[in-house]
Each structure stands twice: as structure tokens, then as C-alpha cells.
């Protein structure tokens, strides 16, 4: 009896350890995912901010080339830059959202039904 009791408690211990390890693995997977996502967020933001503030070059000597006309048209590099930046930013957003979604699906981090419809209350 004593022997079987010890075996049972050992089994329980092993089970607990397995559960803890599994939980740890899930946690570390989540943490890894969140770290990855944070880096991604900063990466996209950095690209956007760099492009955005490069617009100020138009007012410096370094950006004098931008003030020139493009070929025979009246469009200057500055004007083209303005339009391209807006389009580029929208494309960056599109790729960010698409890539993030694919990443979530591939890593099993898609939303549950609760996430889809729930809205937590209170502060």
C-alpha cells in the first residue's frame, strides 16, 4: 500500500512538472511572439519616421536636388516626394497588417471567439 501510494504521488509530481513545463513553454512562446511583434512595430515605425523626417531635407542644401523638375514636367522632386510618401505609408501599413496576420496564424496566435466579440469593461 505504502509503495503504491509513493508511486501515485510520484506520478502526480511528474504530471505537475509536465504541466508546469508546458505552461512555461506556452509562456515563453507568447513572450517570444510579443518580443518579435514589438521589434516589428519599432522597425516599421523607424522606417516611417525616417522617411517622414527626410521630408525636411527639402528645406536644406542637402535636399537641393529635390527642388529640381522631373524631366520635362513641372513636377518637382519635392512634390513627387510628398505624394510618394503618402502612398508609401499606406502601403507600409497594408504590409504591416498583412504580415502581422500571417505571423499570428503561423504561430497559432490568432484570436479566439471571445477576442472577436468581447469588450472588457471598467478601467
Amino acid at each position: 500500500m505504502r509503495h503504491s501510494g509513493t508511486a501515485e504521488s510520484r506520478e502526480l509530481k511528474v504530471e505537475d512538472q509536465n504541466k508546469a513545463q508546458q505552461a512555461q513553454a506556452v509562456d515563453s512562446k507568447k513572450e517570444h511572439f510579443v518580443r518579435q511583434k514589438t521589434l516589428q512595430r519599432f522597425g516599421f515605425s523607424l522606417v516611417t519616421l525616417t522617411l517622414y523626417f527626410s521630408f525636411a531635407l527639402n528645406w536644406t542644401d542637402m535636399g537641393s536636388g529635390l527642388r529640381e523638375r522631373l524631366g520635362d514636367t513641372h513636377v518637382t522632386g519635392s512634390l513627387a516626394m510628398f505624394s510618394l510618401l503618402i502612398i508609401l505609408f499606406i502601403l507600409l501599413e497594408f504590409f504591416f497588417i498583412r504580415y502581422a496576420r500571417q505571423q499570428e496564424i503561423s504561430q497559432g496566435m490568432t484570436e479566439s471567439n471571445n477576442d472577436k466579440s468581447d469588450k472588457s469593461k471598467g478601467g
Binding site: K30, E31, F33, V34, K37, T38, R41, F44, S45, T48, L49, Y52, F53, F55, A56, L57, N58, W59, T60, L66, R67, R69, T73, H74, V75, T76, S78, L79, F82, S83, L85, I86, I87, F89, I90, L92, E93, F94, F96, I97, A100, M109, E111, S112, N114, D115, K116, S117, D118, K119, S120, K121, G122, G123
Partner: protein
């Protein structure tokens, strides 16, 4: 010609967001001459009012609790919310002001367009999902998640109210002038009328009514600018190069109208505007609040993306409208007075252009849309102000998160009415004041207080309550002080010869100062609360990214 609208009017709408630049290129006057009434504008405007009031009635039947009031029950779709955000964000200043700036200063006017747009990609990348996952009704919910709720809420509520009230003053004064002009009503009656309309929307219909007012306004504004741009292009046989060639011929700067340097020469000044516009957008409480009206984080991200598309399209179309105005209005005697100045000032450019390409019908339409625009923005601001008092202050601070739901909703409605009354009083009080600096402050305060708070809360584990509070206070005080000693107040209002601080938008300096203060104080904070704040970060991080799956 119906278009002899006068000058002060649209200057005052313009200053709602772009005041300093306007101040740089033309005077902002509080005087408005009452003009010939445009019946088309009145009919379209009354139609807009009738439809939006019906919507408010419909919304009021679905607004039974605080959640419904603040966030429309979280049932707005991403696309609807994107349109509503665009409606909330694209003020009349965007259409009237930037067109006027391009007319005068060519390419330089586009800084404000890019600045107003570029906050949106950052909103998608950094904030939309995480803010939505952590908050419930306001951005203050987010910053109080890991910090001492009471203290940080009080600071955030203060900055929210400062932004909302200053924004409201600028909007109310501009709107009062506009309706005075369109209807020939006395200014006071105009301001009271606007406030009454907004109160009718918001008090009964809450965020749901405000959302639909904003969606309708966005659709009208986008349609309006598209039609105007189409008509401009039609005038030039749909050749952009013809349009640009004519603009270069007509503008005093010649082909340089398409290059920088007419309005702004100092690159630092340009960067100050860019910093204020971008980071200011990311901290506007009434815009952030819209992220909570959708059912989940994916819709929140999508709504910011859709808003980008609407706003981006709008600013791209403004290139055609702005340079179209240069081509069609420059030197045109129909739109200039005997002294050679544009009738009504540069801010009337868009309306003159509309008249030139579309006649009275289109002009009436665009005038009514401009007014609808102000109503939509004021509605959004009113909801944000009411939420700051009833949710953030009453429910979360005074009742420690356990408010009586009936009482909370009642308080929300009372607060809405109080904000409406305050808006009227301030609108009347500031009627003849130079309010340009008041319009600058919301963006700068938002960039220097709300954005650093939000950013550090979400992305820096070391932030403590003490650091956040000091950072916010330094951001707030430095913003106000630098604006006061800057050109807009020190020279234009107080009459000194030279400003003590050379820039209109000080966020380039105040934002880093707020971040640095928060960092230094947090690093040196060894209190028990600080340890708790730091320990809370891990949980916040997982929840902000994973939502309920954390």
C-alpha cells in the same frame, strides 16, 4: 456673385489646426462681414441637420448605458470607424486652410498635410492594437493599467480636458463665424445654435450618434473635394501638366511654387511643425477614444488603416485643389479686391475655387460641408470631454471603478450639457480675441503630455508613476510656457517686438524634455510603488499584444 464672404470667417476655421502658418502668411481677424445668404448652402445644411438629428433619435434608443454612450457599445465596424476617425480628424481647416496655404506659399503648404497624415501609420504600428487591448473607454484607462490609478488618472484627465477645451474654443469661434456668415445670424446666436445641435446629437445619442455624424461628414467632404478636383482637372483637359504649367505662370514665384522655401526657410521650423503634427495626432484623446468603438483589436487596427486611406486620399487630392486655385484664381479680378488682395483672405481660396469651377450649387454644397465638418469635430470633442469627467474622474477615481451605472450615465449626460454650455461661454468670450495660440496648444500638449505617457506606458518597463507624473507635468508646463514666449503670444498677442522663443510649435523640444524627465525620475525612483509599477509591465505587455489570450 455669391461669394463675397469675408475674411475673418475662414481664417478662424483655419486656425483650428494650422494657426501659426496662417499667422505667418496673413492676418487672422475676428471681424466677419455678414454676406449675401447662399440658399443652396442653407438647404444642404438643413438637410444635413435633419438627417443627423434623425440619426441621433435612432441612436438615443440604443444608448442605454455608459458603454453605449462612450463607445457605441463597441459595435462599430473597422470600415465605419475608419470613416468616422477621418470625419473626426479632417477639420474644415484641412480643406480651407491647406488650400489657402498652397495658394499663397505653394509647396510649403503641404508640410501640414504630410504632418497631419503621417501620425496614422505610427498609430497602426505602435498604438492601435495595444491601446484597444488595454483600454475600455479612454486612453486614460491605458496609462492607468500599470501605474497608480488615482494619481495618473488625475494627470491624464487634466491634459485631456486642457486639449478638449482649447480645441473646443478654436472650433466654436470658427464655427460661430461661419454660421454667422452663412445665415446672417449674430455671432452669439450662431455659437448657441451650434452648441445646441451638438448637444442634441451627443446628449441623447452619445458616441453612436457622433460616429454617424462623423461618417456622413467624411463621405460628404471626400465627395466634395473629389468633385472639386475633377472640375479643376476638367478645366485643364484632364492634364495635370497643363494645370501645373498654368499655376507656374500665374504664381508670383513662378515654377518655384512647386518647391519649398516660400513660406518657410528654416529647416528647424519645418521640423518643429512636423514633430508637433505627427506626435500630437497620436495623443489626441477624442481620436484615441474612437479605437474603443470597435469590437476587437483587429478592427481597431483596421479602422486606423482605413482612416489612413481616407485621410491620405484627401491630402493627395488637395494638391490638385491647391495648385488649381493658384492656376484659376491668381490675378483673376472676380476674386480680388481693388487692392489686389483675394476677397476674404487666403482662407477663402477653396470656396472661391469651388465657385470658379462649380458655380453656386457646388459652392453651397462645400460651404455646408465645411460647417458639417465643424459639427462632427465638436461632437467628438464633447464625447471625449464628458468621458474624462464621468468615466475617468467619477467612475474610476471617485468611485474606485465601481460606479452606479445609472448615476454614471446621468452624470455623463449632465457633463455633456455642461461642456456644451462652457463651449458657448468660451466661444463668446473669445469672439474677438486672437485665438491662434489656443489652436496651437492642443497639438503641442498632446505631443508633449499624452503621447509620452502612452508610449512609455506601453513600451518601457522602467516607467514608474512618479516618473510618468513628472514627465507629464514638465511636458504640459514647458509646452504652455514656450507657446506663451513664442511668436504667437509674445509678439502677436502681447505686442513685444521679438519673441523669447523663436518657434510656434515647441513640441520638438518639449516632447524630448517630457520623455527625459520621465526617464530620469523613473530611474531614480526606489519607492515601493515603483517596484510594483515595474513588475506590472510584464502582464501589461502580454495583454496589450495578445488581448484575452495573454
Amino acid at each position: 456673385m455669391m461669394l463675397r464672404y469675408a475674411g475673418g470667417l475662414l481664417s478662424l476655421i483655419l486656425i483650428c489646426a494650422y494657426a501659426p502658418a496662417v499667422m505667418a502668411v496673413g492676418s487672422v481677424s475676428g471681424e466677419v462681414d455678414r454676406q449675401t445668404i447662399n440658399p443652396t448652402a442653407i438647404v444642404i445644411f438643413l438637410l444635413f441637420v435633419a438627417v443627423t438629428l434623425l440619426i441621433s433619435y435612432w441612436a438615443s434608443r440604443r444608448t442605454a448605458d455608459s458603454q453605449a454612450f462612450y463607445t457605441a457599445g463597441g459595435k462599430i465596424t473597422g470600415l465605419q470607424n475608419g470613416a468616422a476617425i477621418a470625419g473626426d480628424y479632417m477639420s474644415a481647416a484641412s480643406f480651407l486652410g491647406i488650400t489657402g496655404l498652397i495658394f499663397l506659399g505653394g509647396f510649403d503648404g503641404l508640410i501640414f498635410a504630410l504632418g497631419a497624415f503621417a501620425g496614422w501609420p505610427i498609430m497602426v504600428f505602435l498604438l492601435a492594437k495595444r491601446v484597444r487591448n488595454l483600454g475600455s473607454y479612454t486612453f486614460v484607462d491605458v496609462v492607468s493599467t500599470r501605474l497608480d490609478r488615482t494619481r495618473i488618472r488625475l494627470v491624464s484627465i487634466t491634459s485631456t480636458l486642457v486639449i478638449v477645451i482649447l480645441y473646443l474654443i478654436a472650433q466654436m469661434v470658427g464655427a460661430g463665424k461661419l454660421i454667422q456668415l452663412l445665415f446672417g445670424l449674430p455671432y452669439e446666436v450662431a455659437v448657441i445654435g451650434i452648441s445646441t445641435l451638438v448637444l442634441a446629437y451627443v446628449t441623447f445619442g452619445g458616441m453612436l450618434a457622433a460616429t454617424w455624424v462623423q461618417i456622413i461628414k467624411a463621405v460628404l467632404l471626400i465627395s466634395g473635394v473629389t468633385i472639386v478636383a475633377f472640375m479643376v482637372l476638367k478645366t485643364f483637359d484632364f492634364s495635370l501638366d497643363n494645370l501645373f504649367a498654368t499655376a507656374a505662370d500665374k504664381h508670383r514665384a513662378g515654377a518655384a511654387v512647386f518647391a519649398p522655401g516660400i513660406l518657410f526657410k528654416d529647416p528647424v521650423q519645418v521640423v518643429t511643425i512636423m514633430v508637433s503634427m505627427l506626435f500630437g495626432t497620436l495623443g489626441l484623446p477624442h481620436i484615441l477614444m474612437r479605437l474603443f468603438t470597435v469590437p476587437n483589436m483587429y478592427e481597431a487596427k483596421k479602422s486606423a488603416f482605413y482612416a489612413s486611406i481616407f485621410i491620405g486620399y484627401f491630402y493627395l487630392v488637395l494638391i490638385i485643389i491647391g495648385f488649381g486655385a493658384v492656376a484659376l484664381l491668381s490675378g483673376n479680378p472676380d476674386y480680388h479686391d481693388a487692392a489686389g488682395n483675394l476677397v476674404g483672405g487666403s482662407n477663402m481660396t477653396a470656396i472661391h475655387l469651388t465657385s470658379a469651377v462649380g458655380g453656386d450649387l457646388l459652392t453651397g454644397f462645400m460651404s455646408a460641408v465645411s460647417f458639417a465638418t465643424i459639427l462632427a469635430v465638436v461632437a467628438g470633442l464633447t464625447v471625449a470631454g464628458a468621458a474624462a469627467i464621468s468615466h475617468d474622474l467619477y467612475a474610476q477615481v471617485l468611485r474606485k471603478g465601481n460606479p452606479d451605472p445609472v448615476q454614471e450615465l446621468r452624470l455623463t449626460r449632465i457633463t455633456t450639457v455642461v461642456i456644451g454650455v462652457i463651449a458657448v461661454l468660451l466661444g463668446i468670450l473669445f469672439e474677438n480675441e486672437n485665438v491662434a495660440f489656443i489652436a496651437t496648444m492642443p497639438m503641442v500638449v498632446s505631443a508633449s503630455v499624452n503621447f509620452p505617457l502612452l508610449f512609455l506606458t506601453l513600451f518601457w518597463p522602467g516607467l514608474t508613476t512618479r516618473g510618468a507624473i513628472w514627465g507629464a507635468l514638465v511636458g504640459l508646463i514647458s509646452s504652455v510656457v514656450l507657446i506663451v514666449v513664442g511668436p504667437q503670444v509674445w509678439v502677436s498677442v502681447l505686442g513685444f517686438d521679438k519673441a523669447l522663443f523663436p518657434y510656434d510649435y515647441p513640441a520638438l523640444f518639449t516632447l524630448p524634455l517630457a520623455l527625459l524627465t520621465a526617464w530620469v525620475i523613473s530611474r531614480s525612483d526606489s519607492s515601493k510603488r515603483a517596484t510594483q509599477d515595474r513588475n506590472n509591465y510584464h502582464e501589461l505587455l502580454l495583454k496589450s499584444e495578445l488581448g484575452d489570450r495573454a
